[in-house]
């Protein structure tokens, strides 16, 4: 029997939270109802006047009481490292390490065993925070989010610097986001651009180009502190500029270009990458966009990912991170509670099947 465990990232309930339908406790209650046993928190989203309350006994007691009441284990704390908090400079290395330590401390207080740090995190900041991570017993998990990937020069850059015999290096790990395993562009994205006026002919061209990239392999993004530039280089290396020229020549509308550009935020990696890096994976984001009534996710290769994890004996959490709402919320009410329920059921079937 597989030891893979299920969690929910409260990111998933952002639309219900935004509208006032769920508060933090409500999100925990809904998480529990799905059968998940773990919870992932974005403190900056749902704890007002962050981080102040986390340091108070009152909040700590309430948090513990909720976890007990809803039978949930804290899995991952999502940190943001706001290193451009001022518009006229980047925070110094020392300031960034201080910020990372603050998040490690908050995570530790709330009982989390890892934090999620974003793809933009400089290697030096992680290196400088590892002693403290070991001291508080909280791993620093670098999110591997589309368009980034494992088994890339980007990931190697981190591994080369953050490996070694010192025990602190056990506190650096990866958090793959299942959005890197998109076999196709999510249907909710396609539907949104169609509502905005994208024409079927151009939608088909975008989808065919995506299928070609999946079949032939994506050119991978490089490590860079200039994210905008790295992103554009990556997009063009994967054919965005070429396809744009074709669209121009064929008289595509702004909505057609909108769908083209949006399609480049999705990517496909071989699930074998998970097996190759299993010793370095501490947590997983179960990214999802639209899970249908039959529990099939429109874009993400759930069965293939879970199969890879079973092969290598992954015993961590997969944490539902529903993101389809961003393609619905301008026009419809977002069914986030139902989407999380369906995705958890899809995960359960894959794990137990």
């Amino acid at each position: 029997m597989s030891q893979i465990k299920r969690s929910v990232s409260l990111y998933s309930y952002q639309d219900s939270y935004y509208c006032g339908k769920l508060d933090l406790e409500g999100c925990l209650r809904e998480t529990s109802k799905t059968g998940a046993t773990g919870v992932e928190l974005l403190a900056e989203t749902m704890i007002k006047q962050f981080p102040n309350p986390i340091y108070t006994e009152e909040f700590q007691a309430r948090w513990k009481e909720w976890l007990k009441k809803y039978n949930l284990t804290p899995t991952c704390y999502d940190a943001f490292l706001e290193n451009h908090i001022y518009d006229n400079r980047t925070l110094s290395l020392g300031e960034q390490v201080e910020m990372m330590k603050r998040d490690l401390k908050c995570a530790s207080i709330l009982g989390f065993s890892c934090i999620r740090t974003l793809v933009s995190t400089p290697i030096d900041v992680i290196e400088g925070s590892l002693d403290y991570a070991e001291e508080v017993g909280v791993k620093i998990g670098l999110e591997v989010h589309a368009p980034f990937s494992l088994n890339s020069t980007w990931a190697e850059g981190y591994l080369n610097r953050l490996s070694g015999s010192a025990s602190k290096y056990n506190y650096f790990a990866f958090i793959p986001d299942m959005g890197i395993f998109c076999k196709r562009v999510p249907d909710v994205l396609e539907d949104k651009w169609r509502r905005k006026g994208a024409q079927q002919k151009f939608i088909d061209m975008v989808n065919e180009a995506y299928a070609d990239r999946v079949a032939n392999g994506f050119t991978k993004i490089e490590y860079s502190l200039n994210l905008g530039e790295a992103n554009m280089n990556y997009r063009n290396a994967n054919g965005q500029a070429r396809l744009t020229e074709i669209f121009k020549a064929e008289g595509a509308s702004p909505a057609d270009f909108g769908y083209l550009n949006a399609s480049y935020t999705y990517s496909w990696s071989d699930p074998q990458d998970l097996i190759d890096n299993i010793d370095r994976i501490c947590h997983t984001h179960g990214k999802c966009y639209n899970t249908h009534e039959d529990y099939v996710e429109t874009a993400v290769a759930i069965p293939e990912v879970v199969e890879a994890y079973k092969k290598c004996g992954y015993d961590g959490y997969i944490s539902t991170e529903y993101e389809g709402g961003e393609h619905l919320r301008d026009d419809f009410e977002v069914p986030d509670i139902e989407q999380v329920r369906r995705h958890q059921e899809a995960l359960r079937r894959a794990i137990e099947g």
């Binding site: 935004y18 007002k48 006047q49 943001f80 001022y86 994210l227 905008g228 992103n231 026009d331």
Partner: protein, 130 residues
């Protein structure tokens, strides 16, 4: 089809100082998924009935404190985070405020989370009545 609410429908009103109408205010929510320090707000660009409001005439009130957009650049205290899901109040200095009747507002919410390759620019449109 009904998208999520951005503006507080009850929040549009003229503001008075010393017995004179000196502007108007509205309330809207941050179009992002976490609370932010005001320092990452690059702009709140207000256009009312086609008229662009100069940046220095726009003020943001969070948790009882009012900041100009220029002042927002250095506001990092947890006390004045613009919380996710909560209305921020924007006051616009405009002599005489808005006339009674229908109006159209279009606001560009421009924020720059550190990790994003491109900033977030959300256009928030609404029709309302004074």
């Amino acid at each position: 089809m009904a998208g999520r609410q951005i503006y507080n429908p009850e929040g549009f009103k003229n503001v008075e100082r010393d017995g004179k109408v000196c502007g108007f205010e509205f309330q809207f929510k941050l179009q992002y998924y976490r609370g932010i320090t005001l320092s990452i707000i690059r702009d709140i660009a207000v256009t009312i009935d086609g008229e662009k409001i100069p940046r220095e005439n726009v003020f943001l009130t969070i948790n009882g404190e009012t900041f100009s957009l220029e002042e927002c650049r250095t506001v990092v205290s947890p006390l004045y985070r613009w919380e996710f899901g909560e209305f921020g109040t924007v006051t616009v200095a405009k002599e005489g405020g808005l006339a009674k009747g229908p109006h159209h507002i279009s606001v560009l919410q421009h924020i720059a989370p550190s990790y994003m390759p491109f900033p977030i620019q959300a256009v928030c449109d609404a029709d309302f009545e004074i």
